[in-house]
């Protein structure tokens, strides 16, 4: 009983110990906030990356020539993987240059490098979130490369920018290819509108397999916005047949995207396909392996951040250690008295451990509450701070998120609290052992 009584009294009478509590509180709160933001960022990024790529990707080792008869290969994949596969679509991915005449900005065409992806829009929708990234509502309902009412209206209004002599295939452009935003601008400015005509120049599979330049005109039918700037800045989608024609790859593809019933089957499916498909011609990987370096970088960043932040709590632990070490010296006589009155070694040790635990609990629980509240209101807080300081704390154009992504993981909060409690108790162990080993005869002589 005396352990609880004295612990309670030490809590209320020893103000110096509050410094340790505040250190723990700040450490725990910071860890929770940073972890929530990092987890939110990572989750959002994974969702977006996964939305763009299907669960498993089969690629040709020779992108320029690809592989023949993708339908036959897909049948073999289906035969190998059975019901685990719920969707597949062939594609051609290649690099190229995009040229266009922006309305009102320049008389000469502008050119930029792009990643050209030849797809079947409906098949692409079966293996990923392609549909939800399309900006045109009509196109979202029925994805295709057809000109929609928006594009047709624009073309009617800008006859000087169109060539109506021929029927050109459609293309869906990455949002950041078609728009830009300069420093200080509140909204995006369009360089290319749906309805605009663009020319792509790419590398075709020439005679004898030699690469040859090839150009073709496309009409922009829609824009694609995945909120991953890497994709939105570089990707343009064109009909698979059109790209096959441009690249001299009729009846061929260089990629097959595979959607699985359960994403967790991906490693097994990859292993089966690696056995089935000749490795000298095909590369098989999960979407995570494809995005390995990026995901790994975020993971490593989160780990290092956690490690560094945990040092804050470790510092708080040393604060407890030094406070307790001083306290044991100061309380030597009282410890002697407790022993004289029948307190055991274990009891005296328990007193100091309980005090350390109590400090840790107050710091950890208050820190957790503070951290959770701060995390929940992080975006309003960021807005207020941005308003006060005039400095944009979370630049949307850099991170490409409308708001700071947050994912408060309860398990993570529990681990942070447990970790800080362990540190607080561990810091109290050494002084507590010292107190428990004090000789009561020596200590009672203190005056």
């Amino acid at each position: 009983m005396y352990i609880f009584k004295l612990c309670g009294r030490y809590m209320t009478t020893r103000k110096i110990a509050l410094a340790s509590v505040i250190s723990i509180l700040l450490g725990v709160a910071t860890l929770i906030v940073v972890n929530s933001v990092m987890t939110g960022f990572r989750t959002k990024m994974r969702e977006r990356l996964h939305g763009i790529l299907s669960d498993v990707v089969v690629e040709s080792r020779s992108p320029l020539s690809g592989f023949p008869e993708p339908d036959v290969i897909m049948k073999r994949i289906k035969a190998t993987c059975g019901d685990r596969v719920v969707g597949m679509t062939p594609a051609i991915e290649t690099v190229g240059l995009l040229s266009y005449k922006p309305k009102g900005y320049s008389a000469n065409p502008l050119t930029r490098e792009v990643q050209i992806v030849g797809i079947d829009p409906k098949g692409r929708c079966e293996v990923g979130d392609f549909r939800s990234h399309l900006l045109d509502k009509e196109n979202q309902a029925d994805p295709s490369f057809k000109l929609r009412s928006n594009a047709l209206a624009w073309r009617e209004m800008n006859p000087d920018l169109i060539d109506s002599k021929e029927e050109w295939p459609g293309t869906i452009l990455g949002y950041q290819i078609a728009t830009f935003r300069s420093h200080g601008m509140q909204s995006d400015e369009y360089l290319i509108y749906p309805g605009h005509e663009v020319i792509i120049t790419t590398v075709a599979n020439g005679d004898g397999g030699r690469p040859e330049p090839a150009s073709y005109k496309f009409i922009v039918t829609d824009l694609y916005r995945s909120d991953m700037s890497e994709y939105d800045q570089r990707y343009m989608f064109v009909p698979l047949e059109a790209l096959q024609k441009v690249c001299g790859m009729q009846g061929r593809a260089n990629t097959i995207q595979i959607k699985l019933r359960h994403e967790s089957d991906a490693p097994a499916v990859v292993a089966a396909l690696r056995t089935m498909l000749p490795p000298q011609f095909f590369m098989v990987s999960t979407w995570e392996e494809k995005q390995g370096p990026l995901l790994q970088a975020v993971k490593v960043e989160a780990f290092l951040m956690n490690l560094v932040l945990f040092f804050i709590i470790a510092v708080a632990g040393f604060g407890i250690l030094s406070t307790f070490a001083m306290m044991v010296i100061e309380k030597t006589r009282d410890i002697g008295l407790l022993k004289a009155l029948g307190a055991s070694h274990r009891g005296v040790m328990g007193l100091f451990l309980a005090y350390g635990l109590a400090l840790g609990m107050i710091g950890a629980f208050c820190g957790a509450a503070f951290g959770i509240l701060f995390t929940i209101y992080l975006n309003p807080i960021e807005a207020v701070l941005t308003q006060w300081t005039g400095y944009e704390i979370f630049p949307r154009d850099i991170y490409y998120f409308d708001e700071i992504p947050i994912l408060l993981d309860p398990l993570n909060v529990v681990w942070v609290v447990i970790g800080s409690l362990l540190i607080a108790v561990a810091a109290a162990v050494f002084p507590a052992r010292r107190a428990s080993r004090l000789n009561p005869v020596e200590t009672l002589r203190y005056e």
């Binding site: 009983m1 005396y2 029948g342 009891g347 009672l444």
Partner: protein, 250 residues
């Protein structure tokens, strides 16, 4: 350990107790002390500073261990028992009163008196008996004249009041023996006198055994029996007035 008090029986015995301290070289403090303490007896031990009085009292209370020899409590050896047994002995069988009171500054007077019970009982047991124990502590504080000081902190008490609190604390577990180490040594003569009278009264009322260590011979002479510790050896004195003196003073 039986708590039945039979007046006159030997309850505490020191047998050939030696205590040597090692400070660079051997410093013998006690050199074969023998003592039988009878139930209900008021025994005083006098001696000059450094004569080993306090060391001997600590050995009787198991706070210290003899280098050689043995201490018996009600016929059972106590000095070589495991810590758990000695902790219980200190908590329940003996009560300590120190020269410097040793009250915990964080606790009130009432809580300081309850401290031995808090050490003895777990939280649930303590809370279950709280009202009874609190009443017992209040009665003890009333007995020592501190009924009006229940919730004061030690820092708000005078020296005499602190020692009264310490006496009340030593009685809460209803021990059989009180071990008082210079209880008046830190008080003025008048207050010291009052404390001594109080101790003696309480001893009589509760039929307690009191072992008083002091260098004040005038106080010591008022005990049933006064022993002198000189050169680490106990010697009897003229005040050996105990009806059945089974004392072995070497």
């Amino acid at each position: 350990m039986s708590n039945v008090r039979v007046h006159g029986e030997v309850i505490l015995r020191a047998e050939n107790v030696h205590r040597v301290f090692y400070k660079g070289s051997e410093v013998p403090v006690l050199r074969g002390v023998n003592l039988d303490v009878n139930a209900g007896e008021f025994l005083s031990i006098v001696g000059s500073s450094g004569s080993g009085k306090t060391t001997f009292l600590h050995i009787l209370g198991t706070l210290d261990k003899p280098t050689e020899g043995a201490v018996y409590w009600r016929g059972d050896r106590i000095d070589n028992q495991p810590p758990r047994v000695k902790d219980k002995y200190r908590n329940q069988s003996v009560g300590f009163v120190f020269q410097f009171y040793h009250l915990l500054p964080e606790l009130s007077t009432l809580e300081n008196v309850l401290l031995p019970k808090m050490i003895d009982l777990g939280p649930i047991q303590f809370w279950r008996n709280k009202s009874k124990l609190t009443q017992q502590a209040k009665d003890l504080l009333a007995r020592v004249g501190l009924a009006h000081r229940l919730h004061h902190r030690p820092s708000e008490l005078s020296g005499g009041e602190m020692q009264r609190t310490a006496i009340a604390r030593s009685l809460i577990s209803e021990p059989e023996v009180l071990l008082a180490d210079e209880p008046t040594g830190n008080l003025d003569a008048e207050t010291g006198q009052k404390i001594f009278v109080l101790l003696d009264e309480i001893r009589r009322e509760a039929n307690l055994t009191l072992i008083l260590v002091t260098h004040d011979v005038s106080l010591a002479q008022r005990a049933d029996r006064m022993l002198r510790l000189t050169q680490g050896v106990l010697a009897g004195s003229a005040t050996e007035s105990w009806p059945r003196p089974s004392i072995v003073a070497s």
